[in-house]
Symmetry: C2
Subunit: 372 residues, 2 copies
């Protein structure tokens, strides 16, 4: 066959639930000449990535690396390495991503206790406490820090305190939270965190930062059954990312170099400054939306600044408007998922995208579309 | 913490078992501005990637796409979607990668019948035939087309003929073969093929092309148990890569655009021309090695031209020499794995790397190192 024509992407302002806009320095880093995955130079870069991830995750955990897959691969890595058939896993389900953890835990053989809450609400820490009391031998409590389908911002600190002296581990989905709101892995007593690169870190999708506490590592070492996945088996992978450099699979070299540059940008800005920027821009945006009678769909007092789900004012059908926003204004936002499908938009002001100029550009387009 | 210094890769000639050298056009494609994974423009690019993969895999299979992970993720996708607990899986094990399939099938609950052969040998088709006869209800026969740990080139056509009218499916690991030696997925009756991007396609690692025959799809539809992996579950993924575009996980956008450009280069050269180039350059290289009393470790008559494992002449210790080759000459090759560790090198002349100039450059360095 004839080859396809060259792929020339249109210019887009990415204000959806991810990917977020990427700094040109990161794109340029992804284009650097190829090297081997066992090259001493690349192994040093992988070490630096792990160090910078520790700084951003606020952890000293040795077992910290980037999974060779997108955020969902990080989720699966966290779950399948800890869960053995018959384990009890308590999962907060208040949107798409909690449901996904529950599904994955079930596939790994867990007995899942789903703490369901209406979309947009958080899972109250008291409710988690009761569930832990009712299931004293539970292996894991799993919570989504930033529910990308609703914009809910889950409190974690009390849950961490609760589990600190128990045998139950705390697993946290930080795909959309990392770099956008405070996350204190060690101080809050979180045992496993995974994230994505294409949200508040502003790096293209393809890798999933992950970290396991010593307690989580010990639980993996105590397993009596083999992990059901070969690709995601941490016991083998830590021999590559750890000191021994034993070959497991070929790392996605260019993506790792891109993440390296993205983490450099995060640390140059400073993690606190970056989080403050997300907070300020996002809260202002949400005020502007409420001024326009758009209903914010996440629980008041527990709203993420970087991801806002809202119902369009006046019961407008969302899809045709969203199509026009993309085609006429070059702005991408997300539609509602699940309970919010058909009537909601999800706007991400994440990473490089979290600027006042982007809020203005979005609102100007939004106002024109609603008028006309 | 302070950010790490900028990542500036050293210049390397990549003649190991992968990654292979990448054309600058592909690196440039990976640096193009980010777009969304549900953007109509990107969905069209994903369709074009699937079409070009069909052309390269020589198949009409609808279910053809790129797994969001490296070759091993493709392997796991193929195995976990087909295998149900209790299924019998016949696996040829004549090197690292056959062993890896057996391991993964076991984790998926299979009863594995391993057809072990000494490293470097192929698995004789007659032996496969006997095994199929002995296990008439087997779900799968799995063979590695190009065993990257040894350089053995597995014959497949007879096995495909044998299984065509049975209920046993043929699964083929084509990670190192695709684009380097002939592979006729449909004509040979192969039901599942997975490959890697970083070998004879000369695209950075990060994606795994995969294709399922209608027979394999029907077997997936007939499953009575849920696939053990959420991330790799084809039933959900085909709703994204197929017509419906249902969100599953965020595709690694830049990598897909890089693969698009890499496949364009393959089709511009022409698949047959590319395969002929690999054959000619590799066979000449192997002659030169034999002239130097290096022992080729794969079975005569079944040698891959694109990947050559050989024992260094005179029983030289391989590691210090390989280190000097990298540091003094900037050339990367691979060391031996498993049975060949300590005494062998693996040289890949793959994709952009399969040139006479590279053979000359390697041999000049090799001669100097052996003298010195």
């Amino acid at each position: 066959m004839e080859p396809a024509a060259v792929a020339s992407p249109p210019e887009r302002l990415l204000l959806g639930p991810g990917p977020s806009p990427v700094h040109p320095r990161v794109m340029e880093a992804q284009a650097r000449p190829m090297v081997g995955h066992l090259d001493p130079w690349f192994l040093e870069i992988a070490d630096q990535v792990a160090d910078m991830l520790r700084a951003v995750l606020r952890t000293d955990n040795q077992l910290t690396y980037a999974v060779s897959g997108t955020g969902s691969a990080g989720m699966e890595t966290a779950v399948v390495n800890l869960v053995e058939p018959g384990d009890t896993v308590i999962v907060g389900v208040n949107g798409v991503f909690g449901g996904r953890i529950a599904d994955t835990a079930q596939r790994a053989g867990a007995d899942v206790v789903a703490l369901e809450e209406p979309w947009g609400r958080i899972v109250p820490p008291e409710r988690v406490a009761s569930a832990v009391k009712a299931h004293p031998g539970a292996k894991l409590v799993a919570l989504v820090h930033a529910e990308t389908s609703t914009g809910a911002h889950q409190p974690l600190e009390e849950v961490g305190d609760l589990l600190r002296d128990s045998d139950t581990l705390l697993l946290v989905d930080a795909v959309t939270s990392l770099g956008g709101v405070p996350l204190e892995m060690d101080r809050w007593g979180i045992d496993v965190v995974y994230s994505g690169t294409q949200k508040c870190l502003s790096v293209p999708p393809g890798l999933s930062p992950i970290s396991f506490s010593p307690r989580a590592e010990a639980a993996i070492d105590r397993r009596s059954s083999t992990v059901r996945s070969w690709y995601l088996d941490v016991s083998a992978l830590r021999r590559y990312w750890g000191g021994e450099r034993v070959y497991h699979h070929t790392a996605p070299i260019s993506s790792v170099i891109g993440l390296h540059e993205g983490l450099r940008l995060v640390l140059e800005e400073g993690l606190e400054t970056r989080i403050a920027r997300h907070g300020e821009v996002g809260r202002l945006f949400q005020e502007h939306l409420e001024d326009r009678d758009a209903e914010l769909l996440s629980q008041k007092g527990h709203r993420l600044p970087q991801l806002t789900a809202f119902a369009l004012p006046g019961g407008v059908d969302e899809a045709p408007l969203r199509k026009r926003l993309l085609e006429e204004y070059g702005i991408e936002v997300g539609g509602g998922l699940g309970d919010f499908a058909g009537r909601a938009w999800r706007v991400g002001l994440m990473g490089e995208g979290a600027t006042h100029a982007n809020v203005d550009r979005f609102l100007a387009a939004f106002d024109e579309l609603l008028e006309g």
